[in-house]
C-alpha cells in the first residue's frame, strides 16, 4: 500500500504518479475483482485512470471496458456484442450536457420543451432497458451539469427555449427514472459540478484537442464519487463516525477549562461553529450513521460535556464511548469489536494531526480526513469525503428523519397570520427563566459586554464581578433562554436587580436583538416580580441611561407599565413600578423546567 492516501495527494501528483500508484495499490492482498464497462459520450480514459486508482484503494480490483469514443448509445442498444462478451458487473454511462440531444430552439413553448425532454428521456430509457435486458447488471448513469454558456443570461432560467431549462428538466426526469429502478443508480453530476464550479469543470481546450470535456479536477471528483457509489452498492459505505471531543466537538479542553467553559452554543463565532458541526453530526445520525466518541479524557469529565445545555449532541446519540488515556488506535479497534463492525467502515474526525496520523497508520481501512483545526470547515471537509454514500433510503432511515426548519420558515409563517398574537402563539415558544447559575456566568458576563442596543443601562461586568454577585443575598440575577418550534435561540436575556430595603433597583436589563418582539421581556418581568415579591420588595426601580446605540429602549419601561419619576439633564430616566396587584403579562411563552 502507498503510505499516503489518495485524498491527501494533490491532483497533479496523482496524475503524474498514476502508474506507479496503481502498481503499488494492486499489490494489496484480498482485492475484490470488478468488471466495469464505461460507455462514454466523450473521451473517458482520464476518468477511468483515476477511477482505477480510487477503486484499488477502496479494495476493488477493477477491469475496464471502454466504448468507442462517443458510442454509449450504439454499444448499449445496437452493437451489443462487445459489451456482452465483456460481461460487466457494472456499467457506467458517462454522458454530459453535450450528449443531451434536442435542446430546444429560442422561442420554444413549454409544451414543446416537455416534449423534447420526454423524447430525450426515452432515448436514455432505451439505453437502460437494453443494458438490463442485455447484461442485467447495475447501471450507473450521471445526470447533467448545467451548460457552460447562457445565451439569454438570467433569462435562461425562465425561457423554455434555453439549454438550462432543458437540462434541469432532464435531471428531474432522470431522478424519477432512477427512483423507480433499483438497478439504476444516478450519479449527481449536477451537484458535483456546482461544488467545483462550471469554470473549473469544463476545459474547452482539452475538448477541442482531445475530446476530453472536463478538467483533471472534475474527473477526479467524478472518480471519487463513483468510488463512493461502488462502495455503497457493495455494502462497503462507511457506517460509523468516530469523534474526538476537545476542539473537535467543542472548543477548549474540558479537563482544563471545565464543562462550564467549553465553547459551544450561540455565544461566540467559535461556539457557533462547533454547534454547527455538532448539528451536522446529528444530521448524519438521523440518516443512520452511528456516532462514537474516542477521546483522551477522564470518562466522567468527557461525559459532562454532553450535559452542557448547549450541546446539540447528547449521550443518547452516541452508540459507543471511549474516554480514557489509552492510545486512540487501540480504542478504535475495541470500538469496532463492540459495534461488531469492521474498522474499515469507520471515519475518524480529530483536530489533532498527530492523532490522525497514528490512527491512519495503525487502523487498516479507516478513513481519516484532513480535518484541519478550523471548526467552521469541519462539516465541509467531512461532507466532501463522501464517506457515508447512500444509494437508497430505507423506511427506517426515513422514520428517523428529523424535522427542522430555519428562519426562512419562521418569516414565511409570520406572513400567514391574521394578527401578531396569533403568530406568537404559533411559535410554540418555551423559555427557561431562572436565577443565575455558574454554567451560564461566562455567557452572562459576555452579554453585558457586547449588548449595546437592547440594553437599558449598558453596565459592563467582568466574569469575576458576576461570580461575586452569585453569592450576594441582596442581588437577584435572572437569565432567560428562549426556544421556539424552529430551534433554540440560546441564552438571550439578563436582568439584574439589587435590593435596597423595599425597593429593587434594576441595574441591568438587556436582551439579544435576535428575539425582539417575542414578548420575552414580559416573561422576564413576570419572573423578576415573582422573585422580588418573595423577598418582600414592594417597588421596582428602573433606569434608562441613554447611549449612542440604545435609543430603541428609550420608552421600554413605559411600555411595561412603569411610571416615569424623573428625567435628568443628560436624558437619563428613572421609573417606578408598584408591585401590589401586579398581574403577569406574558401570554405566549410557556415556562420550561430547568435544563440540566
Amino acid at each position: 500500500m502507498p503510505s499516503v492516501a489518495l485524498s491527501h495527494l494533490p491532483v497533479d501528483q496523482i496524475l503524474r504518479k498514476r502508474r506507479s500508484l496503481a502498481r503499488e495499490l494492486a499489490a494489496t492482498p484480498g482485492l475484490h475483482p470488478l468488471r466495469i464497462a464505461v460507455l462514454g459520450g466523450s473521451t473517458t480514459n482520464e476518468v477511468v485512470d483515476l477511477l482505477q486508482l480510487h477503486l484499488l484503494e477502496a479494495g476493488f480490483l477493477p477491469t475496464f471496458h471502454q466504448s468507442e469514443y462517443g458510442h454509449f448509445y450504439e454499444e448499449a442498444v445496437l452493437n451489443t456484442a462487445a459489451l456482452k462478451r465483456f460481461a460487466p458487473d457494472l456499467v457506467y454511462v458517462h454522458t454530459s450536457y453535450r450528449n443531451a440531444l434536442g435542446a430546444p430552439a429560442a422561442g420554444t413553448s413549454e409544451a414543446e420543451l416537455a416534449e423534447a425532454v420526454e423524447q430525450e428521456t426515452e432515448r436514455y430509457r432505451q439505453v437502460w432497458a437494453a443494458l438490463e435486458a442485455g447484461v442485467g447488471c447495475q447501471v450507473i448513469q450521471n445526470n447533467f451539469e448545467l451548460p457552460p454558456l447562457s445565451r439569454f443570461g438570467n433569462f435562461d432560467a425562465v425561457t423554455p427555449g434555453s439549454a438550462t431549462r432543458f437540462v434541469l428538466a432532464l435531471n428531474a426526469a432522470f431522478a424519477h427514472e432512477a427512483a423507480s429502478r433499483t438497478w439504476l443508480t444516478l450519479q449527481d453530476v449536477h451537484g458535483l459540478s456546482a461544488h467545483l464550479g462550471l469554470a473549473q469543470w469544463f476545459d474547452a481546450d482539452r475538448w477541442f484537442s482531445y475530446k476530453l470535456l472536463l478538467t483533471v479536477e472534475a474527473n477526479l471528483l467524478l472518480a471519487r464519487s463513483l468510488t463512493s457509489i461502488v462502495r455503497a452498492l457493495y455494502g462497503r459505505s462507511r457506517k460509523v463516525l468516530v469523534l474526538d471531543l476537545d476542539n473537535t466537538l467543542w472548543g477548549g479542553v474540558i479537563g482544563d477549562d471545565g464543562a462550564d467553559r467549553i465553547q459551544i452554543g450561540r455565544e461566540t463565532p467559535v461556539a457557533e461553529a462547533f454547534t454547527a458541526f455538532q448539528e451536522y453530526c446529528l444530521a448524519l445520525r438521523d440518516r443512520g450513521v452511528l456516532l462514537a466518541v474516542c477521546s483522551k479524557n477522564d470518562d466522567a469529565v468527557a461525559r459532562s460535556g454532553f450535559a452542557h445545555p448547549d450541546s446539540v449532541l447528547k449521550l443518547e446519540h452516541l452508540s459507543a464511548f471511549r474516554a480514557n488515556w489509552q492510545p486512540k488506535h487501540e480504542n478504535i479497534l475495541s470500538l469496532a469489536t463492540e459495534l461488531n463492525l469492521g474498522a474499515d467502515s469507520f471515519v475518524f474526525a480529530d483536530d489533532n494531526p498527530a492523532e490522525r496520523a497514528i490512527v491512519a497508520a495503525q487502523v487498516p481501512g479507516i478513513a481519516v480526513p484532513e480535518l484541519g483545526n478550523d471548526p467552521s470547515q469541519y462539516p465541509r471537509i467531512l461532507d466532501a469525503g463522501r464517506y457515508f454514500e447512500a444509494v437508497s433510503l430505507s423506511a427506517e432511515d426515513l422514520a428517523r428523519t428529523a424535522q427542522y426548519a430555519g428562519n426562512a420558515q419562521r418569516h414565511a409563517a409570520q406572513a400567514a397570520f391574521a394578527n401578531y398574537g396569533e403568530y406568537l402563539a404559533s411559535l410554540a415558544m418555551t423559555a427557561e427563566i431562572e436565577r443565575f447559575r455558574p454554567v451560564y456566568l461566562e455567557r452572562i458576563a459576555q452579554l453585558t459586554n457586547k449588548t449595546n442596543q437592547f440594553n437599558l443601562t449598558t453596565r459592563r461586568y467582568t466574569l469575576s464581578e458576576m461570580s461575586s454577585l452569585l453569592d450576594d443575598p441582596e442581588t437577584i440575577g435572572v437569565y432567560g433562554r428562549l426556544q421556539d418550534r424552529f430551534g433554540d435561540n440560546g441564552l438571550v436575556s439578563v436582568v439584574l436587580g439589587r435590593r435596597v430595603e423595599h425597593d429593587l433597583e434594576l441595574d441591568l436589563w438587556l436582551m439579544s436583538c435576535r428575539v425582539l418582539k417575542r414578548d420575552m421581556e414580559l416573561a422576564m418581568l413576570d419572573r423578576m416580580v415573582g422573585e422580588a415579591v418573595a423577598r418582600g420588595v414592594t417597588t421596582l426601580i428602573g433606569r434608562y441611561i441613554p447611549t449612542k446605540k440604545n435609543s430603541m429602549v428609550a420608552e421600554f419601561y413605559d411600555t411595561l407599565g412603569f411610571t416615569l419619576e424623573h428625567v435628568a439633564e443628560d436624558g437619563a430616566k428613572r421609573y417606578r413600578l408598584l408591585l401590589a396587584g401586579y398581574q403577569p403579562q406574558n401570554k405566549y411563552i410557556s415556562l420550561d423546567t430547568l435544563r440540566t
Binding site: 497533479d12 496524475l15 503524474r16 504518479k17 480514459n45 482520464e46 481546450d205 484537442s209 483533471v216
Partner: protein, 82 residues
C-alpha cells in the same frame, strides 16, 4: 530558467508518467523513439507539464512539435512571456 533547467525538470515528469524510473529524455526524444509515449500518455504529459510550469499551451502550439527540444523551446517562450 535555462533550457537545461527545463529539461532537468521534465525528466522526472517523463519518468513518472511513462513509469520508467531510468528513462532519460533528450532534446531529440519524441513519441516514436520513447517507449509507451502513446496518445494517452501524451495528454497526461501535456496536462502535467502545464500544471508544473503553471503555463497553458495555446491550441495551435502543440500541433507541430517534433521532439522534446521543441517543447522545451516553447516552454521557455511561455515562461519568458509570464
Amino acid at each position: 530558467m535555462t533550457s537545461q533547467d527545463i529539461l532537468d525538470q521534465l525528466q522526472p515528469i517523463f519518468q513518472d508518467i511513462l513509469d520508467q524510473p531510468d528513462l532519460v529524455v533528450t532534446r531529440e526524444s519524441n513519441a516514436q523513439n520513447v517507449e509507451d509515449w502513446d496518445s494517452l500518455a501524451h495528454i497526461n504529459l501535456i496536462t502535467t507539464i502545464e500544471k508544473h510550469f503553471k503555463i497553458k499551451f495555446a491550441l495551435d502550439q502543440l500541433q507541430g512539435l517534433k521532439n522534446v527540444g521543441e517543447m522545451i523551446d516553447l516552454i521557455e517562450t511561455k515562461l519568458a512571456a509570464k
